[in-house]
């Protein structure tokens, strides 16, 4: 399989001197499903942010499909993000907009017309248990529903890579299982998935590659 993502000795230091990541090496093949585990504050979100291009590493190099982030302009880096779907821990939804409008935002950037968007969004709403909620304002939804809207917004764009930061943090066990199944289905369709979680039960018994962040270093776990 071809390499989709490569991190070479990537470090991230926040001023004055907080080492979030320390010489992290990571190679992700296309179509892989990887869990990144570690306790809160271990640097999982920082790692995903660096991969997503939201932050620049203090040192080291990140490659996406052979393109090094350091060589890309700001605009090119933003455009690269369109190939990825990010499920944020705090959802990053617009509370005063409807479910459909929130999901459509990501598609509109890709130039998808509203009529085409309806056809792409509705199957996902059904699949994520949000059918009938498309006109509901996000502020009226529960935490779990918001989480699913955030997932729908990420997956509806058919990204090459999905980055999910604690995607089941607000869900009950039933919904957690469903979300993981959806992510696994997407992975089976060829989409690469990186899930950051502090919840060990999420990956136990799933026979997936698990990487753990300890003291800013990434360690491969044998699960």
């Amino acid at each position: 399989m071809a390499t989709l993502l490569r991190l070479e000795r990537v470090s991230k230091i926040y001023p004055p001197y907080i080492q979030a990541l320390d010489r992290v090496d990571l190679e992700v093949e296309k179509g892989e499903f990887i869990f990144i585990s570690g306790p809160s504050g271990a640097g999982k979100t920082t790692l995903l942010n660096l991969i997503f291009g939201l932050e620049r590493p203090s040192s080291g190099r990140i490659y996406y499909a052979g393109r090094e982030y350091g060589r890309l302009s700001r605009t090119e880096l933003i455009r690269l993000r369109r190939k990825m779907g990010f499920v944020f821990q705090d959802f990053k939804l617009l509370p005063n907009k409807t479910v459909f409008e929130n999901i459509y935002l990501g598609l509109e950037i890709l130039g998808v017309s509203p009529s085409e968007a309806y056809q792409r969004v509705y199957p996902w709403l059904r699949r994520l248990g949000l059918a009938g909620k498309e006109k509901a304002r996000v502020e009226t939804l529960s935490g779990g529903e918001k989480q699913r809207v955030a997932i729908a917004r990420a997956v509806v764009r058919e990204p090459e890579l999905i980055l999910a930061d604690e995607p089941t943090g607000n869900l009950d066990p039933q919904r957690t299982r469903e979300i993981l199944e959806i992510l696994e289905e997407l992975n089976a369709e060829g989409i690469t998935v990186l899930v950051a979680t502090h919840d060990e039960s999420l990956y136990r018994g799933r026979h997936r590659r698990v990487l753990t962040l300890k003291g800013g270093r990434l360690v491969e776990e044998d699960v």
Binding site: L54, T75, I78, R79, R81, K92, L93, G106, I109
Partner: protein, 288 residues
């Protein structure tokens, strides 16, 4: 693009409309001064058409002195022709005028008739005004009897038109500064209002250019709208002036002239373009 523009306009309708009206007033001020200047200038030009500088020579002027005077006149700005009207020509003209009453000429000492130079300028009003400072020196040249030139009300009108020209220029600068300030503040306000949405768009892969486009289009259309509204206000003002001042100066053939349509198109388009430019830079500044 237009869908996003309409959403942008709908979200910030109040701010954009307020900007449009204030800009329209600023453009109207510019158009008013331009109109006033244009009318003063064209009126004074019309009135000054055919004006020339006349330099009368002493009856006993020598050829060398005449040559020196011609040389001095040739050095004046904007001179296109210097005609020497000889005493014989003056005499012939007088005889033509008084051909029905030749007795009049018999009482005149024709040997005292002066010859003169008639200096024709490219732009009589402007060039005569510029030549005015040099007249005392010409008057002192040997062989010069008198110098005559337009220095009365036409000169004053010309000076007034120059003052209005400066005011027009200042109002143009005022328009540009107020336009830049208003649009920049307006765009900043709309960006602040949509901060959360912009943050999400940015996370989803929207470039600053993508976010800027509907705002730049809105800026352009607001500028264009302000320009058109100002033209309407100006049209109303001109109609009012035409009616109010009709027959005010019975001895002067004066009619208000409208501004050339090319100037109006340039102004409206320029305001639209400049608004779009300011909007673009405001968004860029916000993102930097």
């Amino acid at each position: 693009m237009f869908r996003r523009f309409w959403r942008e306009f709908g979200l910030n309708r109040g701010a954009y409309l307020m900007t449009l009206f204030i800009l329209a007033v600023a453009v109207s001020v510019l158009l008013f001064f331009s109109f006033f200047y244009y009318n003063l200038y064209s009126f004074s030009r019309r009135a000054a058409r055919g004006l020339a500088l006349t330099v009368y020579l002493e009856p006993g002027v020598s050829p060398q002195q005449r040559q020196a005077v011609r040389k001095a006149l040739a050095s004046l700005p904007g001179v296109v022709e210097i005609r020497l009207v000889k005493r014989s020509q003056v005499l012939a003209e007088l005889r033509r005028i008084f051909r029905t009453n030749p007795d009049v000429l018999e009482e005149i000492d024709l040997s005292r008739l002066p010859s003169f130079f008639e200096v024709v300028f490219r732009d009589p009003l402007r060039d005569l005004e510029r030549a005015r400072a040099r007249v005392p020196a010409i008057r002192k040249l040997p062989g010069v009897l008198e110098v005559q030139y337009a220095r009365s009300w036409l000169g004053r009108i010309y000076n007034l038109s120059q003052l209005v020209k400066r005011l027009t220029f200042l109002s143009g600068i005022f328009l540009l500064v107020s336009l830049a300030f208003l649009m920049a503040v307006n765009i900043h306000l709309t960006l602040e209002k949509q901060r959360e949405e912009i943050e999400v768009l940015y996370l989803l892969g929207a470039t600053p250019g993508y976010i800027a486009r509907p705002k730049v289009l809105a800026g352009f259309l607001v500028g264009l709208g302000a320009g058109l509204l100002a033209c309407l206000l100006f049209g109303a003002l001109k109609t009012y002036l035409d009616r109010a001042l009709l027959g005010l100066w019975p001895f002067v053939d004066f009619q208000w002239e409208g501004l050339p349509w090319q100037f109006l198109i340039l102004t409206v388009g320029g305001v639209g373009f400049f608004s779009a430019l300011v909007s673009w830079f405001s968004v860029r500044r916000y993102f930097s």
